[in-house]
């Protein structure tokens, strides 16, 4: 009975928040299929720690932190667990339907180093404060500030310097 309740609570939470997690994951990695892999792993980790997670004050923040860690963990280490999973459900990099402007931004985001990209997403999409982003990233507020600043500069530079795309897409 307790197990059923445990699973029901977890399922209800995931059903309500997976769409949001998927969007954050997509902004982090720039690929919907990979985003699905990230979300799958994130909610698996969430399930493993559900007894503790459901008691935290900010469950969304907890889930987001897990997602960011899963994303950065993939970048950090070169042994990539989803490669193993490819045996049965291989990952894919099929492009989604892109609007031109979105494509510009997606490409500019993709050019950022992973932690800069995560910082930009947390600060400007998730609307976290510097301190909140620092907590999610497991780093100092100063580090978030510098990563944000560099990330924004890089995005501005890339998005301004794109005449070729502008010409290509009248």
């Amino acid at each position: 009975m307790a197990k059923q309740t445990h699973d029901a609570e977890f399922t209800e939470y995931v059903a309500s928040r997976s769409g949001w997690l998927r969007k954050v994951a997509y902004l982090l990695c720039g690929d919907w299929h990979r985003a699905d892999d990230l979300v799958q792993e994130t909610i698996t980790k969430l399930y493993v720690n559900w007894s503790r997670a459901k008691q935290v004050e900010n469950l969304d923040g907890y889930a987001r932190r897990v997602l960011v860690n899963v994303f950065l963990g993939e970048q950090r280490t070169s042994w990539w667990r989803r490669t193993v999973r490819r045996e049965t459900t291989p990952d894919a990099v099929a492009d989604s339907i892109d609007l031109d402007a979105s494509l510009d931004l997606r490409q500019a985001l993709a050019a950022l180093p992973p932690r800069q990209r995560a910082t930009v997403v947390l600060r400007y999409y998730c609307d976290l404060t510097v301190d909140q982003a620092a907590e999610a990233l497991g780093c100092s507020p100063g580090n978030v500030k510098s990563q944000s600043s560099r990330g924004l500069d890089a995005l501005r530079t890339r998005l301004v310097a794109r005449p070729a795309v502008a010409e290509r897409t009248p």
């Binding site: 919907w32 979300v39 698996t44 894919a92 492009d95 979105s102």
Partner: protein, 345 residues
């Protein structure tokens, strides 16, 4: 597009995230199933830790001694759900002297892949994958998996996927088929999988990513498959290890050679109890780690890093801390001609 202020960037990010997307390919049932399996393993590990305290030395000797332990190329059949398998302690990867034993090598490759620069390897658990074109700008990537000798790997249905065999032209005169999934919303658009029996009798799988507009034609995949070699070869790595503490079991290893000018890196991870220690070597200045518990040093133009997860400080201190662990790593040089297959000494 320009970004003049933070609100504008936030609006652009929201628009990007809200853009039309393919149907989601994850599901909560899979996570619950995998989560339960992990919890079972965790519980078993906790129970096993008690017994391991008395048997640790013996076990370590068995696993690391020449000829001892399990072998990484004892692969699970394709489609065997790892998470639903009976919980077992992780198998050590590689051989007693090299954590990265390759089971498949590419022969002919299309000209967008450089066989020397773009091919890497990954040993993780019971799987060894040969990878080509990883992370390249085109999104095209090939992964080769050679199964151990034995019966043809079976396909496994999940709640998300019902794979089918679609006959392919024979590869070197032997049976071959594509693995497809007409019922899955994105499976076939995202990848092409060729499965065939190699000359050695072992079955192999070639997985091709299929970015829109960058699909690798079937005849190219068949030609690649026809030239694949199977066997067992120790990978040459840019470092060797000495003085590893007793009880460490090699659990993962890789040689990552991303396409598109990203730096290569090589690494090996070792497990002891709940702790994993990883060594990573790459060209100096090219790595960025997200965790604070990583220590790096530089030698011969290489960055040598040690990092850990899930360990206790007393246990790490017993191994000399991360600083001490980095001193167990001996780089051979940036030039691949200096790399060694005799990695664990």
């Amino acid at each position: 597009m320009t970004i003049n202020d933070h609100d504008e960037l936030a609006a652009h990010l929201t628009a990007l995230a809200d853009a039309p997307a393919p149907p989601a390919a994850f599901d909560v049932a899979t996570s619950i199933s995998r989560g339960r399996a992990r919890l079972r393993r965790r519980r078993q590990a906790a129970v096993g830790a008690l017994a391991a305290m008395t048997a640790a030395t013996v076990t370590a000797a068995l696993l690391l001694a020449p000829g001892g332990g399990l072998h990484a190329t004892q692969l699970l059949p394709a489609g065997t759900p790892r998470e639903s398998a009976a919980p077992t302690p992780g198998e050590p990867v590689g051989s007693p002297t090299n954590p990265l034993i390759i089971s498949g090598r590419f022969g002919w490759l299309p000209d967008w892949l450089d066989p020397a620069r773009d091919v890497g390897y990954l040993a993780d658990g019971s799987t060894v994958v040969t990878k080509a074109g990883q992370g390249g700008p085109s999104g095209r990537r090939l992964d080769l998996l050679v199964h151990p000798a034995g019966a043809e790997p079976r396909l496994t249905e999940t709640s998300q996927s019902k794979p089918e065999k679609d006959p392919a032209p024979p590869v070197n005169g032997r049976t071959a088929y594509w693995i497809t999934d007409p019922t899955h919303p994105t499976f076939d658009s995202g990848r092409r999988i060729l499965c065939w029996q190699t000359a050695s009798g072992r079955w192999a799988q070639l997985v091709s990513n299929r970015p829109r507009g960058g699909e690798v034609p079937d005849d190219v995949l068949l030609r690649i498959a026809a030239d694949v070699q199977t066997g067992e070869w120790p990978a040459a790595l840019p470092f060797w290890l000495s003085g590893l503490p007793e009880g460490l079991r090699p659990s993962q290893a890789d040689l990552s050679r991303p396409a598109a000018g990203q730096p290569w890196s090589a690494g090996a991870a070792f497990s002891v109890g709940e702790m994993t220690i990883a060594f990573i070597v790459a060209p100096a200045g090219k790595l960025e780690f997200g965790k604070s518990e990583t220590v790096c040093r530089e030698e011969q133009g290489l960055q040598i890093c040690a990092t850990t997860e899930g360990g206790s400080k007393p246990l790490l201190d017993k191994f000399g801390g991360l600083e001490g662990l980095t001193r167990m790593v001996h780089p051979t040089g940036v030039d691949p001609s200096t790399w060694t297959t005799d990695v664990i000494r």
